[in-house]
Structures are given as structure tokens and as C-alpha cells.
């Protein structure tokens, strides 16, 4: 496998893992924000959005503190499972997932808020409990929006740089995704050709994700109209 292909593959692995692992959490958080009223909701909202507004380097540093062997999460992983995510692709996926979470939550929250609550009421009167109503009415109706949020999160994940390099460093073959490889090539004398190839691959991947998200959103607008 060529070096470029290996880097693209790693990028897809990190981005894909980050997206799939974050998606259930993003749906749950979006649900809480869309449907629940509780004191401290603004605080939770702010906390989720933090990675969107603080410098990615800061997010990466906070992750490093948490996942270091002496940190609360890193220590637990070490003790219970004997694993560490530092300098590993799994760590890169965690960084990408954290950075993508706010974007995903925003998109999914909007699609959940757009679901007609009257249809959920109808399902309840027809004998469906809360979970069945969610699975058979809410989720399918919000589906295109959730998928669009996932694709958006994926696009953000494969472009992640600052938090990743701070958290898990720039290890070729392990944490060196496309953006990090471009950065490394830029530091290398005579690396211009490599930079061009990597950048082209990066743009192509991001564009594909963006077009997919756009298509899903359009489909959502067309497909499910109520009444």
C-alpha cells in the first residue's frame, strides 16, 4: 500500500470510529436539549459547545490531562483494562469525536425539534410506549437530519488537527491523519509534491462528505411532510 493510501485509510478509520462512537451520545444529548427542561440546561448546552469555541489546542491539552496515566480517565483505563490511548489511533479518534460532538448535537437537535409531537401522541394512544414511539416515529422522522449530522461530524473528524496533535502527537501510521501528514510534509524540505497530493486527497474526502450531508438534508425536506 502506498504511503498516501495508508494515510487516507488511517484518516477514514479515525474519522469513522469517532463518528460512530459519538453518534449515540450526540443523539442522547440532542434529545435532552430538545425535549427536557431542567435547571442547568444552559450549562450543559455550553459544555457541549465548548470544543467549538475554545482553541483546539486547549481541548487537546484537557484531553491529555484526563487520559494521561495520572489522569482520572487514563488512570482507570490503565488499571481496569491495561490500555492507554496516548499516541494511539484510538486517542486520535477520541480527539476527533470530542471536536465533532457539538456540530453533531446541533444538527440532530434541530431535526428532533422538527418532529411533529402530535404524531408521537398518536403513537402513544395506539399502545406504543415511550421507547417504541421513539424508535418507530421520532427516529425515522428525524433520520435524515441525524444522518446529516453524522456526516457533518465525520467531515469535521477527518479534518481534525489541533486537538489531535496536542493530545496524541504526530505518530506516522498511528495518529498521523491527513491534516497531520500535511503538516509533517510541510516541515520536510522538498515535501511540496507530497503536500499537494495529501491536500488534494483531503479536499476530495471533505467535499464528498459535505455533498452527502447536503443531499441528506434536501431529502429530509422533501420526504416526510406531515398531513
Amino acid at each position: 500500500m502506498s504511503e498516501l493510501a495508508a494515510i487516507v485509510r488511517l484518516t477514514l478509520l479515525v474519522g469513522g470510529t469517532a463518528t460512530l462512537a459519538t453518534l449515540p451520545l450526540a443523539v442522547a444529548l440532542a434529545w435532552v436539549l430538545a425535549r427536557w427542561q431542567f435547571p442547568g440546561k444552559v450549562l450543559l448546552d455550553g459544555l457541549i459547545h465548548l470544543p467549538l469555541v475554545v482553541p483546539p489546542v486547549v481541548t487537546g491539552w484537557l484531553l491529555l490531562l484526563a487520559f494521561a496515566p495520572a489522569g482520572p480517565i487514563g488512570g482507570a483505563l490503565e488499571r481496569w483494562f491495561g490500555v492507554s490511548v496516548l499516541f494511539r489511533w484510538s486517542g486520535a479518534a477520541i480527539a476527533a469525536g470530542v471536536m465533532a460532538l457539538p456540530l453533531m448535537v446541533r444538527a440532530i437537535r434541530l431535526s428532533l425539534e422538527a418532529v411533529d409531537r402530535r404524531l408521537e401522541q398518536a403513537a402513544r394512544t395506539l399502545g406504543a410506549g415511550k421507547w417504541r414511539t421513539f424508535a418507530t416515529v421520532t427516529l425515522p422522522l428525524a433520520g435524515p437530519g441525524i444522518a446529516a449530522g453524522a456526516v457533518l461530524g465525520f467531515a469535521r473528524s477527518i479534518g481534525e488537527f489541533g486537538a489531535t496533535i496536542t493530545f496524541v502527537s504526530n505518530v506516522p501510521g498511528e495518529t498521523q491523519t491527513l491534516p497531520l501528514a500535511i503538516y509533517a510534509a510541510l516541515q520536510t524540505p522538498g515535501g511540496e509534491a507530497a503536500v499537494g497530493r495529501l491536500a488534494a486527497a483531503s479536499v476530495a474526502l471533505s467535499l464528498a462528505a459535505l455533498v452527502t450531508a447536503e443531499w441528506l438534508v434536501r431529502r429530509a425536506g422533501r420526504g416526510v411532510r406531515v398531513l
Binding site: D116, Q121, R124, T125, L126, A128, T136, G223, V224, L227
Partner: protein, 201 residues
Amino acid sequence: MSFDVDVTAARGGATVGARFVVGEGLTMLVGPSGVGKTSVLDMIAGLLRPLHGHVRVDGRTLYDSAMGIDLPPEQRSAGYVFQDMRLFPHRRVRTNLLYGARDATRLAEVAVMLDVGHLLDRWPRTLSGGEARRVAIGRALLSDAAFLLLDEPLSSLDPARREEAARAIERVRDSRAVPILMVTHDRGEAERLGDRVIAID
């Protein structure tokens, strides 16, 4: 008694509610628009929590503030036909009809009674108002409903569709399977279809 209802709810600044005890068959709730007829149905179905009172259907207590009973909507076995129908837009007519059904074999029988057999593979958004209304009634009937709540089932239909829907309701009424509570603002409609009429104001 089929329906033993005494409920009050706050809506806006005013309180809405109703109190009645009626036997089997089709009971009509008649009153002008905005008097809270839909709120009464919502309270019976468990979609709106009353301030106090009780709801009993065929001797089964669905809500009783004094006894602390408040069954969730899915345990009330209400066959609620909403004024806005609320068919699931992402499901075809067939799977809409079967959404709450425990016994799918009754589909054919209900489809004949309501004349929706030819619509089974259609999407709700392609149905006319009268067709959608009949599908909504069928969905409620198939859900093993212990009683039916019909909210203005003949409104916003042209005369021909209206007649169709009225006949469908008559057939359901005459089958005497379940007690029916129907809301309307139209006295003539109430006199024609109802075994008894209750005025709300």
C-alpha cells in the same frame, strides 16, 4: 356505565372540562368551537393531565386524582381519531393501520367496513381528506381499542366525502363493539349519528 367522566383542566386563563355518565353506543359532545371539546378527549386519552377529577370507561379507572391513578396513554386502550388525523407520513396505509394492531388478521375485515382496501399500498400524503379520515378510523379500530374517541371526524370534508365518512362511522356504531365518544360543533350531525347528545358550553 361506558363513560364516567369528570375532568377539569386549565387552558389559558380559563378552565375547561366536562362531567357526564353515559351508557353504551355513540355519545355526542356538542358545543361551539373553542369551548374545549378536544381538551376533554385529550384528558380521556391521557394526552392532557386534568387538574382533578376522574375518567372511567366500562368500569376501568384510567385517571383518578383522589386515588392517585393516572395511566399513561399507551395503557388506556383509547382508539383516538384526531381531527388532524395524524397518520404517520413515513409509513404506508397498511403499516399505519397495523401500527397498534395485535391481531393483523382483522385488517381485511376493517378494510372492508371502511372501504380502504384499495388504499393499503398508498402513502398518507397521497390520500384525499375522506380517505385519510377512514384510514385514521381504521387504525384506531385495529389497535384493540376499548373505546373510540372521534374528534370532528366529518369536518373539512366536501359533502360526498362527508357522507362516506358518516356511513363508515354508522357501521362502526352499529357493530356495537365499543363505546364511542364523538365531538362535533354540528347539531344536525349529532342528531343523526348519536345515540345521545350532550351539550358543552
